[in-house]
């Protein structure tokens, strides 16, 4: 764990100006990922997890309606730290897909439907690695084989609609891996897939990570997947980090009431068929970003909130032991 981080995010904030008012989609998010490490970002809709990943890739639409502040440091292929947010766009284009790559949730909408998959993958390779057409094609075959696509040479001419959901996601992963990125951002890569295919893809990502030592930022809302793939976990709520910890301590002893609630609300497989009463659900709804509650964003849904304390001001993200952060004024009294 002493290796220097390949991705270092400091105080990242993203604001959108909308007709209804300004939305703080992401507020003061900081984290670091080291080579070979998997950081899971957990959150629900509106938590800011996807906006965070798009900001890291500099894929948010440019213009006055979006304001991104903070610092994103990314170790480039030559070893020096790049300041992603200030990099000129032409240079960023050389980094995107090369040092940092992304896999999206919906492979059908992120692949070009009118271009054979072989060409789509070759495009990135030729652009970033300067291979000629023939060499690039050979490389595509190797990559498709690597991600477990049977008969890869025959698949080069296939269009995305020829492929199943799992196959399309493999193509996306092959494309993302084509330049051996130092950081892979996977935004809900298995959410649209069946559990059996999800297991295949998670297994594939783990094996590829072991082989290439890339860092993975895995965005998901599925806590089962988190337990399976993550080394560290960052829980987001209403655009803010509310808890950060190594995966085992987080599941063993969650500190933030939101994390506690999330973990308890997932039905347990070992209790299947026992009907052990209603699930301990978190009441209420995910907050509206235009009307974020005062104080702690979670307090209206929190069973442990104290009037005059939790709704008065935003709690600090404070240290709660080694490599642990929590944003709750009451965590000391709430956790045994």
């Amino acid at each position: 764990m002493t290796a220097a981080p390949v991705l270092q995010v400091e105080d990242l904030s993203v604001r959108f100006r909308t007709r209804g008012g300004e939305i703080a989609a992401v507020s003061g998010v900081s984290f670091a990922v080291r080579p070979g490490e998997t950081l899971a970002v957990v959150g629900e809709s509106g938590s800011g997890k996807s906006v965070t990943s798009l900001a890291l890739m500099r894929l948010l639409p440019p213009g006055a309606a979006v304001t991104v502040t903070g610092r994103v440091g990314l170790r480039g292929k030559d070893g020096r730290m790049l300041d992603v947010l200030t990099l000129p766009e032409p240079e960023m284009r050389g980094v995107r897909g090369d040092a940092i790559a992304m896999v999206f949730q919906e492979p059908m909408t992120s692949l070009n439907p009118v271009k054979p998959v072989g060409e789509q993958i070759a495009e990135a390779i030729r652009l970033h690695r300067g291979l000629d057409r023939r060499a690039a094609t050979e490389e595509v075959v190797r990559l498709l084989d690597l991600v477990g696509i049977p008969a890869p040479r025959q698949r080069l001419a296939s269009y995305p609609h020829h492929l199943s959901g799992g196959m399309r996601q493999r193509v996306m992963i092959a494309m993302a891996l084509s330049c051996e990125p130092a950081v892979l951002i996977a935004d809900e890569p298995t959410t649209a897939l069946d559990v059996t295919i999800q297991a295949q893809i998670l297994d594939l990502l783990r094996r590829l990570q072991e082989r290439t030592g890339m860092a993975v930022v895995f965005i998901t809302h599925n806590l089962g997947v988190v337990a399976e793939i993550a080394d560290r976990v960052m829980v987001m709520y209403g655009g803010r980090v509310v808890e950060q910890a190594d995966v085992r301590p987080l599941f063993a002893r969650p500190l933030m009431p939101y994390t506690v609630g999330l973990l308890r609300s997932v039905p347990r497989l070992d209790l299947a068929g026992r009907r052990a009463g209603p699930l301990p659900a978190i009441p209420g709804n995910v907050p509206d970003p235009l009307h974020m509650p005062e104080g702690c964003g979670f307090h209206p849904r929190c069973g442990d909130h104290v009037a005059g304390l939790c709704d008065a001001r935003l709690p600090e993200l404070e240290s709660a032991g080694e490599a642990r952060l929590v944003r709750c004024v009451r965590w000391r009294e709430l956790t045994p």
């Binding site: 199943s164 295949q200 089962g224 993550a230 659900a281």
Partner: protein, 380 residues
């Protein structure tokens, strides 16, 4: 148990003809549902699980007679509804309703909640004036945990969970006794899923509903169902009570499905069966057992004939001819159990991730399992 089942399905088939081209002689058929039989007792929640393309949604739609079956029979509360006309179905429609998966797409964005929820009353000429209708809408909203003022809202003003509650209120306003819920929670946020699952269970008890629950999330299914029917490529491969199915699966597909479900506990030692490839095409299913192409226990006999669904224990049906194999239940697999694939786990003591390549069950060689651990190496 001598009570008449509320729903009885016999040898149901639903084939969809593929669009024939000018040059093709034979019209190919997608065998979405290919001969399934089950019955449901009153007040029961039966879950249909399976991968996409297994035909579970088609079963749900066909038993509601939203599409006409190709063959087989559907008996609802003693009445054969297989061949009823639209007009004949009408009085029955109020007794059987559907909750959709996507609470965004299934509500008309230009209607208020009140209009959405009251539409079934209008369609079925429910007696009473506007005031009576309004009272019924309010009661239905209250039933699903919404407030009276939600009646004047439009869908876009509501959260995903609230929208799904509107969908449930619409399904329940005619007080049906049978509900098909097609993936009702899978589009919702995690913290909201539990709310809707609890709501469905409460309503079931309160209104005496019978629910056919179509889903792929095994954790939710395990919590909500009395019985589970596992589908693969248009056929049922296993039917059992929830507890029994999770504790002792009898079909290799169920075993693989259960082992693929992610467990929210990083300390659990997993023994995952990773199925190779995808579900085969329902246009041209493999001969014999459709699962044999991905099954690690498959033999020649499996490919010879379609195995019938038969009772392997009281109330437990399975369509696998291999009685000689011992299948693993989730979480109970020992590391030494045979597996075609590699086993991945974390060592409880150290937290290191370890990969162990296990010998195939069929090979009798005594070669020691090759192991490789992520750094730092362990002395396996």
């Amino acid at each position: 148990m001598t009570e008449r089942p509320i729903l009885e399905v016999r040898d149901l088939r639903k084939w969809f003809p593929l669009g024939s081209s000018l040059f093709s002689r034979h019209r190919q058929q997608v065998k979405a549902v290919d001969g399934i039989s089950f019955s449901m007792r009153r007040g029961e929640i039966l879950s249909l699980v399976g991968e996409s393309g297994s035909g579970k949604t088609t079963v749900g739609r066909t038993v509601l007679r939203l599409t006409a079956p190709t063959s087989g029979s559907i008996t609802f509360d003693g009445q054969d509804i297989t061949r009823l006309s639209r007009r004949q179905l009408r009085p029955l429609r109020r007794r059987m309703q559907l909750v959709f998966q996507d609470p965004f797409a299934s509500l008309n964005p230009r209607m208020t909640v009140e209009r959405i929820v009251s539409t079934p009353l209008i369609i079925h000429d429910e007696p009473g004036g506007i005031a009576a209708r309004r009272a019924k809408v309010e009661a239905a909203l209250q039933l699903v945990g919404l407030l009276p003022h939600h009646a004047t809202r439009y869908p876009h003003e509501l959260s995903g969970g609230q929208r799904q509650r509107v969908g449930i209120a619409r399904a329940l306003i005619l007080r049906p006794d049978f509900l098909v819920a097609d993936e009702p929670v899978s589009a919702l946020d995690v913290s909201i899923q539990a709310q809707v699952v609890n709501l469905l269970l409460e309503l079931k008890d309160l209104l005496g509903l019978t629910i056919l629950f179509v889903a792929h999330d095994l954790a939710v299914v395990g919590h909500i169902s009395d019985r589970i029917a596992v589908m693969y490529l248009g056929r049922l491969v296993e039917v059992a009570e929830t507890r029994v199915l999770f504790a002792r699966p009898r079909h290799p597909y169920t075993e693989a499905l259960l082992s693929a479900a992610p467990i929210p506990d990083p300390t659990v030692e997993r023994q995952r069966i990773i199925l190779a490839g995808d579900i085969p095409s329902p246009i041209d299913p493999p001969p014999g057992c459709a699962f044999s192409t991905r099954c690690r226990y498959a033999t020649e006999a499996c490919r010879a004939a379609v195995p019938p669904l038969r009772e392997v224990a009281p109330g437990h049906l399975s369509a696998c001819i291999r009685d000689d194999i011992a299948l693993q239940a989730p979480r109970h697999g020992a590391l030494t159990a045979p597996s075609k694939e590699t086993c991945r786990c974390r060592l409880r003591s150290t937290g290191y991730r370890v990969t162990i390549a296990c010998p195939r069950p069929s090979t009798s060689s005594s070669s020691a399992p090759a192991s490789s651990a992520s750094a730092p190496p362990t002395n396996w």
